[in-house]
Symmetry: C2
Subunit: 273 residues, 2 copies
């Protein structure tokens, strides 16, 4: 993954060195932003409509101003074309603009930033190997409004990933405040137990992921239900999904080795389109 040196800032392409992000930007100061990570395949920003729809819905619910989906998608197309990404990823960051105070006293502004990288995020050999995972005790995912939106207040996931790395693992499985499985540190989680596929519902602390939504729509047998630590321990398969993977299996969870299974292969087939 090679970082693209151009960025799109408020709808204008420029080099990253030229880009002037305000020292008063509310996402820099307070994590007051939203983001989307989008897979780019042969120059095409995959499922861009789903990503901008989610961002727009979150912006609406959390009271963000936004340049609107049409303008965001235009900026994304321009970025992908001008930056010349073939296979890689791009990221859309929308912030509440400049402002001090927990809640801005004046009307809120808006800052739209698009950044990207070149290189397939999860090439075949990585997908084949899978990820080693550790269930971390802290931080926990909340089950409320913050869990339902992809905000730039991402510290819980960062610290979960760090805890997993300190245990020699690739990724963390995070619990909610009740001690049940919420999601991975940057992916949704699907658990196969006794042949039944289960994924935690949003009110258990799962982000409503784009790939998760596609998979649930494509496979009506998937159950959305609480997943316990005991379910994890007894699982035949554990599979992670996010927009970049799009489906990768756990090769090991808390030291227990796991083999590739049927559900993972089916999920990868569905999500690779």
């Amino acid at each position: 993954m090679k970082r693209i040196r151009e960025v799109s800032l408020n709808g204008r392409m420029m080099s990253a060195d030229e880009a002037r992000v305000s020292p008063y930007d509310r996402s820099l100061l307070l994590g007051d932003g939203l983001f989307e990570t989008v897979l780019v395949k042969r120059g095409e920003a995959k499922h861009i409509g789903r990503h901008t729809a989610r961002m727009a819905a979150s912006a609406e619910e959390l009271g963000f101003a936004t340049p609107g989906r049409v303008e965001i998608e235009r900026a994304v197309r321009e970025f992908a074309a001008e930056a010349g990404i073939k296979d890689g990823a791009l990221r859309i960051t929308l912030t509440r603009g400049e402002g001090a105070g927990v809640w801005p006293e004046d009307e809120t502004g808006v800052m739209l930033l698009i950044t990207g990288s070149e290189g397939i995020p999860y090439p075949p050999e990585k997908l084949k190997a899978g990820l080693t995972a550790a269930v971390v005790d802290e931080p926990r995912r909340t089950q409320g409004i913050t869990a339902r939106h992809k905000t730039t207040s991402y510290m819980p996931s960062i610290l979960a990933r760090r805890a997993a790395r300190l245990r020699g693992c690739d990724t963390a499985i995070m619990l909610n405040s009740a001690g049940r499985v919420a999601e991975a540190d940057a992916a949704n989680v699907f658990v196969v137990k006794g042949g039944v596929v289960v994924t935690p519902p949003v009110d258990e602390g799962a982000l409503p992921g784009i790939s998760r939504g596609r998979l649930v729509a494509a496979m009506p047998d998937i159950r959305q239900a609480a997943v316990t630590m005991e379910d994890l321990a007894a699982a035949e398969e554990i599979v992670f999904t996010n927009a970049l993977m799009p489906a990768i299996r756990a090769s090991e969870v808390n030291g227990r080795a796991m083999r590739p299974g049927k559900f993972w292969r089916a999920a990868l087939d569905i999500l690779s389109t």
Copy 2:
């Protein structure tokens, strides 16, 4: 409160317009930063040693690189002097520098930003009037590691403040996942009931605030114990503290009017030094 147009970026003073914050800064993208808000009185950054000690301890525990307390305090003194703040506030923001990915693959960098404003944050008339408060149901404060550190992943507090404003109140009182009181949206909370002063302990989701710590040290009768909604409803006084206030009373909580009390006056006396 008038925003100071100069900032200190990585130890160098410059105008805010000149300051170039990277579009890849991890606090901008992921809320991967720490911050301190410091009261400035007659040109002096109050209790700066306590603020930098807390920041350094958080940096250590969360695996941040830091320029060190000596350099941060030097930059703060330079900022306060060159920006010419007399009475106001300054803010220290420390981020993990540039980097993509939930956990940075390479060694982490560091970005130190100091910003400020001129004007007494809570002048006497504001302190006298108090704050109207609403207990909000969402978002909840976690009781774990993220609650113990003052990170730039501040979205839960932002959304709590917004919920309070939508109910016509100045500030929010936030609950933890068990439904007990954790803190206000940007302040600790002290509750007087039957003449006994109680404040939620850190493991109930309270940030270990600088003013809170000073008050607890100065008044040994303050109990650190769980505070329930029933305690709030029966309280004679509810007092908020943070570094900028430093103590302000609730004039109203969930519509119930409250009068100024002895504890608030004592706390204000202690914290105004």
